[in-house]
Symmetry: C2
Subunit: 107 residues, 2 copies
Amino acid sequence: MAREATPGGLDLLVLHLLSEREMYGYEIVTELASRSNAVFQMKEGTLYPLLHRLEKEGAVTAYEEKKEGRTRRYYRITRKGRGRLAQQREEWREYAAAVNAVLCMPG
Amino acid sequence: MAREATPGGLDLLVLHLLSEREMYGYEIVTELASRSNAVFQMKEGTLYPLLHRLEKEGAVTAYEEKKEGRTRRYYRITRKGRGRLAQQREEWREYAAAVNAVLCMPG
DNA sequence: ATATGATACATCGTAATACAAGGTTTGTCA
DNA sequence: TGACAAACCTTGTATTACGATGTATCATAT
């Protein structure tokens, strides 16, 4: 299908969380689980490569900080990242509507 | 994430169409495009292997028929296929709700 | 008469994605 | 002290959808 349609795009979820506040990797995993009522149980082997990729692409920046005795790597969304987020949000909306249309399900 | 959650599952869309009536491959492609307002433009390189897999798994059966001068391979959903359809429909519903929950979007 | 494009099937190689499995360090609590 | 949670990471692997390409038949336009 249209590649952009792939809503497996975890980018969308991660970028959205970071658009609300800075977070570190492990926190993203737990936050996703809690907000989705445990539907999303993102694995670390999925998240960390994803964050590194987003950083390389300039959608997020990162810095390390020691907090509560732990060294954490915090991520902050960039202007570019916000642009992508808006676009992916729209793609998700379109995709979901299309699936529901095919299934004859109400939005 | 949860593997089952992957709504990239085109199986869902294809099985749903076949649950309404028998269809042949090429028809599925055009039907998906028309119902989704051209959001879904499934490629033949995607569909045919998918149908073969569904057949091997016993979710559909197939038979060839000459109609309108063309030899077509029609697919019919099986009981097993209907079971899977119901399950995937539920998974889609759950997945979409979870995404919307994370994004703070209304259903 | 012939060329083009739509119909209809198919396969093969490739890129992206998420995961499983494994590993390290530090802190907390029994 | 030992176990477990927090927090980061990498490598290999399976799945998925796609691009490219191929074949054959039929309709339509030139």
